[in-house]
């Protein structure tokens, strides 16, 4: 490993240790900072996982309350975001378990009737905005038509930029299963997009 990589790895480890110490103290200022830092990533993950904007917002708040309550369990050895997403995932599973007790151990497929509430931002022109919006709608609809486990793997890999190992940590699935989910999810999404464009 070269010096730059060492520096970044060391800086990340320091940051995680600092977060762990702050969570031990239940430091509200640290939590405010973390909420701001991870707001978009966490909400995006929850929106894709639940397929419902309102539910995602409720679970967003629940996740941070859970982070406060269970913060002493975070030891700083893993990346904070991995731990955060694992908490959010468990809350979604708990919610689904309450809603549909027959599928307690998996994410299931969420509410099929709910569409992703996605806001596209940052377009330079009206034409680009329209194209972007159409593409967003297509891909959102496609994401709703693939199983939740595949959807989750795609979001973590391609939107959150997590490594395969980190995804395995968040989902609790073996590495091979993670790879398989990404492959199958991508294939299913592509097939759906091809069908939608015809």
């Amino acid at each position: 490993m070269n010096a730059t990589a060492c520096y970044f790895v060391s800086a990340m480890a320091d940051e995680n240790t600092e977060i762990a110490r702050g969570l031990q103290r239940r430091d509200p200022d640290l939590l405010d900072h973390l909420i701001e830092k991870y707001q978009h990533r966490l909400l995006r993950y929850l929106v894709y996982l639940t397929g419902c904007g309102e539910l995602a917002e409720d679970l967003f708040q629940e996740t941070w309350v859970r982070v406060l309550e269970r913060g002493r369990q975070y030891d700083g050895r893993h990346d904070f975001s991995t731990w955060l997403f694992a908490i959010a995932r468990n809350l979604v599973i708990d919610h689904l378990r309450r809603k549909r007790p027959e599928t307690p151990d998996s994410l299931g497929d969420g509410d099929d009737s709910a569409l992703l509430d996605i806001t596209a931002t940052g377009q330079p022109s009206a034409f680009d905005a329209t194209v972007q919006r159409e593409q967003n709608e297509q891909i959102s609809a496609g994401m709703q038509h693939i199983p939740a486990e595949y959807r989750e793997a795609l979001v973590l890999r391609f939107q959150e930029g997590m490594s395969l190992g980190e995804i395995a940590n968040v989902t609790g699935a073996p590495l091979g299963t993670v790879k398989s989910r990404i492959y199958r999810g991508l294939s299913a999404l592509e097939a759906w997009l091809r069908g939608a464009q015809l």
């Binding site: 509200p28 405010d32 708040q61 406060l68 891909i139 890999r157 395969l164 091979g176």
Partner: protein, 184 residues
């Protein structure tokens, strides 16, 4: 059981399946880690994939389609509103204050328990000696003054229990609370 858990071997014997799984795992334009041994896929797999893609049109097409899909995926912006963030921060702060108060109460309860235990140990020893002295002065047999000690020792707890039971029965008879005369 998960739908994919039956078939999760990334190193499929089918070279096309293997190539597509590698393409999917690799993603698009993702900066690799500084340490090449941690690259996903590994350099060996990447070179195998490059050779395979040169000769396989269908896998190349899959790779191109994957690029488009991943670009579309990354183009989606979902942002949390300021209201949600501030509401969450406020809720977390309130919960933190609650937990703080709970912890303070717990400390008070623990301190009280420790004080009561200490005073019980000290007072029991003193009382025991006192009863032994009284028994000796009154020329009572040991079981008699020991019985007296036991009755004296348990009496506060017995009276408190009777009082609480009586109070509970009173409250139950009066619908859980004291009635207030509306004329007053």
């Amino acid at each position: 059981m998960s739908t994919d858990s039956m078939n999760s071997d990334p190193m499929s014997s089918d070279p096309h399946e293997r190539a597509r799984m590698l393409i999917a795992s690799a993603g698009l334009e993702r900066p690799g880690p500084e340490d090449p041994s941690k690259a996903e896929p590994s350099p060996v797999e990447q070179s195998w994939l490059a050779v395979h893609l040169e000769s396989c049109t269908t896998c190349r097409e899959f790779a191109e389609n994957s690029c488009v899909t991943i670009r579309l995926l990354r183009g989606i912006q979902i942002t949390a509103g300021e209201r949600l963030v501030s509401a969450t921060q406020m809720r977390v702060r309130q919960r933190a204050e609650e937990l703080q108060r709970q912890q303070e109460r717990l400390w008070v309860v623990c301190a009280c328990c420790a004080a009561v235990t200490l005073s019980t140990v000290v007072s029991t020893a003193l009382l025991w000696r006192g009863f032994a002295w009284i028994g000796q002065q009154a020329r009572l047999s040991t079981p008699v003054w020991e019985g007296g000690f036991l009755v004296f020792y348990l009496m506060p707890a017995v009276f408190t229990g009777i009082f609480l039971l009586a109070r509970g029965a009173f409250l139950a008879d009066h619908n859980g609370s004291y009635q207030v005369d509306p004329r007053v």
